[in-house]
Amino acid sequence: MTGYVLRRIGQMVLALLGVSIIVFALIHLVPGDPVRTALGTRFDQEVYEALRARAGLDQPIVVQYFTWLGNAVTGDLGVSFRSGVPVTTLLLQRLPATITLAFAALFVALVVAIPLGIVSAIRSGSRLDYAATATSQVAVSVPDFWAGIMYILLFSLVLSWLPPSGYVSFFEDPLEWARHLALPALTVGLISGSIIFRFVRSSVLEALNQDYTRTARAKGLTERQVIWRHVMPNAWIPIVTVVGLQLGFLLSGVIVVEVIFAWPGLGRLALLSVQDRDFTVLQGAVLLIAFMFLLINLVVDIVYGWLDPRVRYD
């Protein structure tokens, strides 16, 4: 197991190095001078030269990369060309909102998908199964941003139950925090839940059709014992993987939903940095998001290897 974990960590470091090259190249592939572009009409020769020197843009490109990488490893991602604020500070300000939304959405997804998936599989072919499967098929086709707009229309404008957008810190006002979190979490969580549902259903269905399940039934166990002792322990393995992957996407891929709900997360910061052409911030955001994504994948693989020893020897 140790060898497997070390191998996976090595692969993650390699992937991160690759991502770092792409992220670093970003600033050099942009047509024109990124500092001049970011400063725009507020151009000032002194500020311009200071920012260029701070970003190391006056150095040879290989030196620039290694200096940038060395700084990034120590948590220094440079300063925003627009505001002059360290990129790390900006990212850390946005991180709590992103993590909160990701876990809240995952909670919604799991609460819906796991029980429904298990029941659908056990009662395969029933009306409930058809209804749940059909709903999930429609749900995976719904763009999250459209679902979000429709929820705002229903819950905020028509029913006036929940605020349409914004973010309140938990420590400021827990009730308002929950009220503001509800709609974005529902928007992303239900779509994520429909993907997880499909995996739960098919995993449980597969385990239900195995010989060991038939044996368990044949030796006279109750249906409840068959499900919880024999079916579920085997069905969990693929479910863990898809839940982990979904968490990775929730932490990294809900940019549009963050925009709709004015949620101050990393995705919205990345988008704003594109609009402002503030490339050091974009570099930092992409690097951090990719890091989180790879880290979650690593954890998923390790858990997978632990649950299913065959994986370790692949």
Binding site: L26, P143, D144, L157, I195, Q246, G253, V256, L282, F293
Partner: protein, 315 residues
């Protein structure tokens, strides 16, 4: 080409070189026939095909049959609700939402097809070369694909558009690049299996060039998962285009794109919810149609494949 070589080429198509020269063609035809039959027995897949046929028709003849010009401004009738005059209502400039949704089908389908075309053109050869040659070529290419795959789809597309600049063509390129690793992985996986087949080894021993083996013996036999993935990727490409246009990075005004129309509708949400509802429904319907067809094709062609893209999501 020798006659033996020709026979092998046909044999490759049927995955079984032991048949006589005529049989593989008949088998190939009957397999295609069986696939079509299986897809047509799947009611959801048929529903998807019907929706797609309507959409394609709308995309082709839409501009000539729509009741109003897509950019015809009518301030007197701005933000009016759905009626017999304007089935889907009007927008903030009095433009007919129905006409814009119909013409928007063209933009979505074109972007979807071109983007997935780019992903196919890049991904399939990478997968073929990687799986066929193996070794250092394989490791290098696949590590690069893994790196691209490790970046969330929409974030990677946004980063590419930050470099290329916003616009419809760049959006197609960005989405194409984002989905390249999926095709490369799927193709490579299939090539690794086919590579060991008797008919490939036979072709090698007959002295066929690598290029020829790849084109005539391997490619036709790895098409099934690629076709399935193409249909599912079209759904995701359309979603991605809508997301990018919604963020202002894809199709630029006044061109009617569904994602863009949704974004514009957001500002007039309270007065005119139809501005956001109908373009959104059009996206849902299109994506659903491609998903249904993709699922139907998967059941018919490649039941073992669990889509890589399915768990990937679009943000």
């Amino acid at each position: 080409m020798t006659s033996g070589d020709e026979g092998l080429a046909r044999g490759a198509q049927a995955s079984d070189p032991s048949h006589d020269a005529g049989a593989p063609i008949a088998e190939h035809r009957s397999r295609t026939h069986a696939t079509v039959e299986t897809v047509l027995r799947n009611r959801l897949a048929v529903a998807g095909l019907v929706i797609l046929a309507v959409l394609v028709l709308a995309a082709i003849i839409g501009p000539w049959v729509i009741p109003y010009e897509i950019n015809e401004i009518d301030i007197a009738n701005r933000l009016t609700g759905p009626s017999t005059d304007h089935w889907f209502g009007t927008d903030e400039l009095g433009r007919d939402v129905f006409s814009r949704v119909v013409v928007g089908a063209r933009v979505s389908l074109v972007v979807g097809f071109v983007a997935v075309g780019i992903a196919l053109i890049l991904g399939v050869p990478i997968g073929l070369i990687s799986g066929f040659y193996g070794g250092a070529t394989d490791s290098t290419l696949m590590r690069f694909m893994d790196i691209l795959f490790s970046l969330p789809a929409i974030l990677l597309a946004i980063a590419i558009l930050a470099v290329l600049g916003p616009g419809i063509v760049n959006a197609m390129i960005a989405i194409g690049i984002v989905y390249t690793p999926i095709f490369a992985r799927i193709t490579r996986g299939s090539v690794l299996t086919i590579r060991q087949s008797v008919f490939v080894r036979a072709a090698e021993s007959l002295g066929a060039t690598n290029n020829r083996i790849l084109r005539t013996h391997i490619l036709p036999n790895v098409m099934a998962p690629i076709i399935v993935q193409t249909s599912l990727s079209l759904a995701f490409a359309i979603l991605a285009e809508a997301a990018l246009s919604f963020l202002g990075l894809g199709v630029q005004p006044p061109e009617p794109a569904w994602g863009r129309m949704l974004a514009e509708g957001r500002s007039f949400f309270e007065q005119a919810p139809w501005m956001a509802i109908f373009p959104g429904l059009a996206i849902v319907l299109t994506v659903m149609a491609f998903n249904f067809v993709g699922d139907g094709l998967r059941d018919a062609l490649d039941p073992q494949q669990r889509s890589v893209i399915e768990s990937r999501g679009v943000g």
